[in-house]
């Protein structure tokens, strides 16, 4: 059963591993968000692609939820002492990957090919594909002004309320090679339990990806990132409250009009009503096994 997953953030990566564990090797393609990519110290940092790669390769720091296990921070500390940027936390092991990626990008290897090579080098059988090889950057608009995503998220600790989100380059961005094929070949499309504005939104900003979902011939199922109306981590609940008017399953479904056939929600969010089928289960992924169980539930729902 071929599955295409749209994913961003730590929850998305954990869910992707759950799906990979639930499916035969090679049956999963993950389309990753690149809206939060950022240039730091001349390196191309791609937090969501790297979160997927590290999680699927078993390299992730499970406790912190991002970056490498056993990470050290000496290069960044040194760069700071030489008055380079140090606001964005890059560990030494992480920098090793960024240096190798930067070299490939400088040699005009597109990000999708770079990502495939890195996944191959880590023996990850799941295909990880960026939504686009083109420039696509999330900007956040707040009462305090507009900010490139990471400046708001990391630099300002995502403290400002968000009035709106925009996706620079979204209108022109083409899907990366492999994205449309994966969607076309999929027996089911799944949206990970990710932030709808910051993780899935930038992927859907790529016109051809959104159109493909709108005209899908297979079921598309989203998994809610909320438990009892609260985000498991990050600002999804605050953003939904302010931008969608609430954090019920119905409000979440409103972010995906015309794109969903069903939404998997947490039992804590029942009873609920929405424009699509709702299926309640335990959605907390407190370990690898619970992520696999959630993924299996989503697959059952996707099969109708």
């Amino acid at each position: 059963m071929k599955v295409a997953l749209l994913s961003g953030g730590g929850g998305g990566a954990r869910f992707a591993r759950g799906l990979a564990d639930a499916l035969p090797p090679g049956d999963l393609t993950v389309v990753g968000n690149v809206g939060d990519d950022v240039e730091i110290l001349g390196l191309h940092v791609s937090p969501d692609l790297d979160g997927l790669l590290y999680t699927l390769a078993g390299l992730i720091d499970e406790e912190r939820g991002w970056g490498r296990a056993g990470e050290t921070w000496n290069a960044l500390r040194s760069a700071g002492a030489w008055r380079g940027e140090e606001w964005f936390r890059l560990g030494d092991l992480d920098i090793g990957l960024h240096l190798v990626r930067r070299e490939m990008l400088d040699a005009d290897v597109p990000l999708s090919r770079v990502t495939a090579r890195l996944a191959e080098r880590a023996s990850v059988s799941t295909r990880i594909v960026p939504a686009t090889d083109d420039l696509l950057r999330t900007h956040v608009h707040t009462p305090a002004g507009s900010f490139p995503f990471q400046e708001w998220f990391v630099g300002r600790g995502h403290a400002d309320d968000v009035d709106d989100v925009s996706y620079e380059g979204g209108a022109e961005a083409r899907p990366a090679p492999g994205v449309l094929d994966a969607l076309a070949e999929a027996d089911a499309i799944v949206l990970a339990p990710s932030n709808p504005y910051l993780s899935i939104g930038p992927i859907l900003a790529v016109r051809e990806i959104r159109e493909t979902l709108e005209t899908r011939r297979v079921r598309c199922v989203a998994v809610s990132p909320l438990v009892g109306g609260k985000a498991v981590s990050g600002p999804a609940d605050r953003m939904l409250s302010r931008m969608a008017g609430g954090t019920t399953p119905g409000h979440l479904v409103g972010c995906y009009v015309g794109l969903l056939d069903a939404l998997v929600i947490d039992e804590a969010d029942t009873p609920a009503e929405a424009q699509v089928e709702l299926v309640a289960t335990k959605t907390l992924m407190h370990d690898r096994e619970s992520a696999r169980q959630l993924a299996e539930r989503a697959l059952e729902v996707a099969c109708g």
Copy 2:
């Protein structure tokens, strides 16, 4: 007393610190070799400039003789695991500097300005100036073929005998801003106890630097890197034997025809004869104090 020092290698850096300790702050300008600069993992690595910077800033690993004290190697190990280059040892603290330098170079800040900024950030009062901002690269010609310097030195462990050395870009390279001024204002010019072919040779390959030394109106004194005809470290003795026919003070002076007024040699190399004044002393720099004493001796000789 203004002094201009031409320097490369670990011995050159230790001697530079000796001179800095012996002179009032700000009286020393070190013209550093860039012939062994190399691009690694997309970073511009400048081993001799960095050796000077680290030594003068008190950051050097004294025991190893290169790189930072307290260094770790996680980024390089990670890069290697992602199949990036790992033959050239770059530590995490070192990479912090390379990232900051790379960003400045990418913003078209010339290497001399980058070097001055880094020295300022490390509160180093000695001026460190690269011989040139232009491309200048040492190539080594051996019975096994010709190699870019670091490929032979690090990659092949400088095992091959050297028949000849050439300096790519030397004919066209212009002295970096500050080099000719430092030489013109100097009350004495000193050549550090460095490899004549690999450290001083590339600096002298810059035509205007060589011409300035040829037409100098102050004394120019070299300090021998040999003790009892043997290099304290590195391949200087093997290269002199093969390329100059021997390792006596006379053979070393032969590398600097028309450029020297005196050569400071080790007591172990007496008695000796050469085309210039020879002054014997203890030249081993086993600690900072002995480096200062050697520098003071060289300054006395430079004063005639």
